[in-house]
């Protein structure tokens, strides 16, 4: 009997308690035929050199909201962004900088914490697993899981490129999700982009991380700056939208003294990549890359709204326990469907984020 018998899902994560919680009907909807049909739709829609040009926005939007097929994320994610990595490099004057030169930068003060986090990113995933924690494998040694080496190089390169930001815990999960989602091994057979290897995947992920960090719509960098201003802004906005969209629930949480910073920090710092199952995180990212922060707030509120009745009956401790277990029990389709029905306008997001700017003292920014 093999010790590697544990079944893995389409992402390579071991089947666990969460998989068992997903309603069977949801799985039946994604039959092979339907998957093949969606795969072809994306193949027709996404041109290898011209991207999505010519595709009506309404069609594209409807499709990314249904979720980019697993095999198309590698090609689609950069194209869904307002400034994909290539345009971004040009706009930011980074064309002369090579990934290799950043990887070969001198050691930085962030190396230590990066080293600790690369082995603590998705430890249950075979590509990120360590045989034994604490020195069981040598860092960077031949026996190290390949994705750990990629993750280390990506995070070090980012810290070298963006010295003011450096490395912030949480970036490890974001880079980890990018590596898993944009892996050429899981690419659709209909994706004609040049066949590539792991090194190429790694470099693509790095530039995607840079573009997401600095892009005006996604602004991930704000989350990671030493002041973590973007994270405070996200928690502030989420709380405002919870009050607006689910006032009864928001009031209950406030009465019980449950603050967003107590349970939702990891949602925003990693845009759901740290604790949530990869199929959920990737769906959230399909919307995040294309639409920015609005869907992130909608999904945040939907996570609670989907469980409103249960949460209203709980006290502080019960609430904290239930909120902590949300990632293990999240119903992907129900939550994302509900998120779409929560009425939030882009101008609401702009207004609340502006109010945050007015509310906090300049020295806190």
């Amino acid at each position: 009997m093999s010790t590697k018998a544990a079944e893995t899902d389409a992402w390579g994560f071991p089947q666990g308690a969460w998989h068992a919680t997903q309603p069977a009907a949801r799985f039946q909807q994604t039959t092979e035929e339907k998957d093949a049909d969606r795969d072809l739709k994306w193949a027709r829609m996404l041109h290898p050199t011209k991207g999505f040009s010519g595709v009506p926005t309404a069609v594209l939007k409807r499709r990314w909201r249904k979720g980019v097929p697993r095999g198309w994320r590698r090609a689609a994610w950069p194209e869904l962004m307002d400034h994909g990595p290539a345009e971004f490099k040009t706009a930011a004057g980074l064309r002369q900088i090579t990934y290799q030169s950043l990887v070969n930068s001198p050691p930085s003060s962030y190396d230590e914490v990066i080293e600790k986090d690369v082995v603590r990113t998705f430890p249950r995933h075979a590509r990120f697993a360590t045989a034994v924690a604490d020195g069981g494998r040598s860092a960077g040694g031949d026996d190290e899981a390949a994705a750990i080496s990629s993750l280390r190089r990506i995070l070090r390169a980012y810290a070298a490129l963006d010295k003011e930001c450096g490395y912030c815990q949480g970036m490890n999960y974001v880079a980890g999700l990018l590596l898993l989602a944009c892996d050429s091994a899981s690419r659709s057979p209909n994706d004609p982009s040049a066949s590539s290897d792991a090194a190429d995947d790694e470099e693509r992920c790095f530039w995607l991380l840079v573009a997401t960090a600095r892009g005006p719509r996604t602004r991930l960098r704000d989350l990671y700056l030493p002041s973590m201003v973007g994270c405070r802004r996200a928690l502030y906005a989420y709380e405002a939208f919870l009050r607006k969209l689910r006032p009864k629930l928001a009031a209950h949480l406030e009465r019980e003294n449950v603050q967003p910073a107590m349970y939702a920090t990891h949602w925003f710092v990693t845009v759901f990549a740290a604790q949530f199952p990869a199929p959920f995180a990737a769906r959230a990212w399909d919307r995040f890359l294309a639409e920015g922060w609005k869907p992130v707030y909608q999904i945040g509120v939907a996570l609670l709204a989907a469980r409103e009745r249960e949460l209203l009956a709980l006290d502080f401790e019960g609430l904290m326990g239930a909120l902590r277990r949300l990632p293990e029990t999240v119903d992907v389709e129900r939550t994302l469907g509900l998120a779409l029905r929560l009425r939030l306008k882009t101008s609401d997001v702009r207004d609340v984020e502006k109010r945050f700017g007015d509310d906090v003292k300049p020295q806190d920014l």
Binding site: E112, Q169, N172, R232, Q259, T265
Partner: protein
């Protein structure tokens, strides 16, 4: 009775592992880096041995807050430090830097939590990863000196291994006991407040509320 415990220390010293060992009696080789905060509770019987006065064992609920180790997470305005009854500071015996940072963590906690009595606020220091004794780079003596310097009374110090379950229970019990005796002492100072509160017989007639 509810006691609020906050665990602080550098990234990777084993805060989550200690907590998991204490609450679930388990150790895993595959912990994920904690982002933001995490919250666990455990019920325990505990005796508050304040001075020589023995107090009966009480059932307490420990509300334990685990935290991200990277300093910048402090800027999130960690509201949950407030109202803490005890703080556990953790370092890794193989990482001198994590020991040197105890000062920063202690000051950071006192600033954010702003307890009424900063002088006597209870801390417990944990030196973790005793299972890696061969890689030790912080001498026990050095830590004991730090503990003596940073407290008016004795600051309890434990060398633990979350992996081997060495002294973990003892350290948390000590923390609970200190928190409990702290609470008891404060109650002794202001008994009137307690007997007045909510008692209609003592209601001030000048009060115009309701």
């Amino acid at each position: 009775m509810l006691l609020k415990v906050v665990i602080l220390g550098d990234s990777g010293v084993g805060k989550t592992a200690l907590l998991n060992q204490f609450v679930n009696n388990r150790f895993s080789t595959s912990y994920k880096a904690t982002i933001g905060a995490d919250f666990l509770t455990k019920e325990a019987f505990c005796g508050a041995n304040a001075r020589s006065v023995a107090i009966d064992e009480t059932l307490v609920t420990l509300q334990i807050w685990d935290t991200a180790g990277q300093e910048r997470f402090q800027s999130l305005g960690v509201g949950f430090y407030r109202g803490a009854d005890v703080c556990i500071l953790v370092y890794d015996i193989t990482q001198p830097k994590s020991f040197e940072n105890l000062d920063t963590w202690r000051i950071e906690f006192l600033t954010q939590a702003s307890p009424s009595d900063t002088q006597n606020f209870p801390f417990v220091v944990i030196a973790n990863k005793l299972d890696r004794e061969n890689d030790r780079r912080v001498a026990t003596q050095r830590a004991q000196t730090w503990c003596a310097k940073n407290s008016t009374s004795i600051l309890p110090f434990f060398e633990t291994s979350a992996k081997a379950a060495t002294e973990v229970e003892a350290a948390f019990r000590k923390a609970a006991q200190l928190a409990l005796s702290q609470g008891t002492m404060q109650a002794d100072f202001i008994p009137e407040t307690i007997s007045f509160r909510g008692s209609p017989a003592n209601g001030d007639s000048k009060s115009s509320c309701c």
